[in-house]
Amino acid sequence: MRHEIKKICRIVDELTTMFLKDDTDEVDFKIITSPEKAIIRIVDYHTNYSDQMIDQLRTTLNNQRQSEIEEYYWQLAGENDDDDEELTLISAMIDTATVEKREGNLYIELVRMNR
């Protein structure tokens, strides 16, 4: 896969924009890359998202990896701060997403397998 690192950075860029704009003032990101996969761990502190929204976020992010959409549109990720359509793009660029709310914080782990 080409531009692998840049694609991971785009995912982080998109989610940073979303959380800082919509939800919180404090976010942690941890990115781990290996030859097999990349893992992005996010902590969105003091989340204001309701349980229903978190449930919807989980559903959206676990939609399914879609390589043809990724190949065509990956450069759109993180480009715009006006709307949330790019979350669908993020879901097309990752294989699995774990989304949990614990002690008032939102914990997300995204896994992107190298293909």
Partner: protein, 429 residues
Amino acid sequence: MVFSNRIDEKDLHKEQKLLILAAFPALFLIFGIFYGLVEGTKGRTILEGLSAIILSPTTLITDFLVIGGIGAAFINSALIGFYNLYLLKHFKMRINGLLIAAFFTVLGFAFFGKNVINILPIYLGGYLYARYQKIPMKNVILVIMFSTALAPIVSFITFGGIFQEGFSYLMGILAGLAIGFIIVPLSSHMIRFHDGYNLYNIGFTAGIVGTVITSALRSFKIDIAPVNIISESNNPWIIGMLACLFIYLIGAGLRTNPTTLKDYKKILQYRGRTITDFTSLVGYGITFFNMGVMGLSSLLLVLLLGGVVNGPVLAAILTVVGFSAFGKHPKNAWPLVAGVILAGLFFSYDFSSTTFIISLLFSTTIAPIAGAYGPIAGVIAGMLHLTLVTNIGIIHGGINLYNNGFAGGLVAGFMLPIIDAFKRGDSRP
């Protein structure tokens, strides 16, 4: 914030979704064979019609209903439709909104510009790109389907009389291979110009590529003369068949999701900017219903304006239907239509002319502007679209079939920074 809706609908297997889509080429094939046989008794056989379509330079605007006859044109569209469905099945693609849009776009443009021969080198070029980059062909097939917008380059170089026969075949194939090879990285890069607000992004990319190629040809004193071969009379069978197919889509939507009528308003909350895949956001039932509604509305609009449902208009209607699975719905489309009609009134356009009708329908390529910034911005975008689209064809000499996608990209790229300049502060609540 807009996420996926909880969708409670009948689970459709991939084959069932493909079957729903296959109804279009299947009916086109049956209609084409019967109509072609009738036309054959009057002088032009189906094979002669298909041969005329394949040997045409196919530059804008070449209506295959005129060049090859109604029967051959529908058979050409059906064959291209089945070929693309086969590819989707072969590569085990998830039938998402974008693939539905690509399928209907290719199906529609097979009535003016794409034929069973001139698209093949472009697919082969895409295959070579995938091999070169060591990525699966399924990753690029979507872009390649759309990129057949530049198929007229293959036909023009092969049959336009600029090279000796024989050598021209080689040059035509090489041109198609080159387009298929470069279009994937180009289209991915060009989308940043309009930030995804122009749904026909490949039209914008193909406009740039077409401009470069046409300029190069002109440097060699080879000019691409524009043509205007269009059918001037309506055929009630074609109109009836289209209406039945759109009602069929509405029926398929209601059958897949029985609560579609109640839940249809959910689709209207989406702005439509790329990527708005309705199949994953609201499910297949509401998506098929929306496609049928948009198809019927487009057909009705054409007839109300006194237009003719010829090859280019068929392409426009089917493209609108396809992109109704990927961003378009009545709420974000009407301001563009209103803007084009207003500009048409102001500049005294003939509302029944094919050029005006296709500009009207294709203007919905920038429906996301109305979806994101409201109906007034949408109306202004529609007015700008008409003024641009009628003037930019000359730049690429008519070898980019998605001329409206090119214009839409320019309008979006021009308007978005201006809209942003009028916004104050940040949009954080």
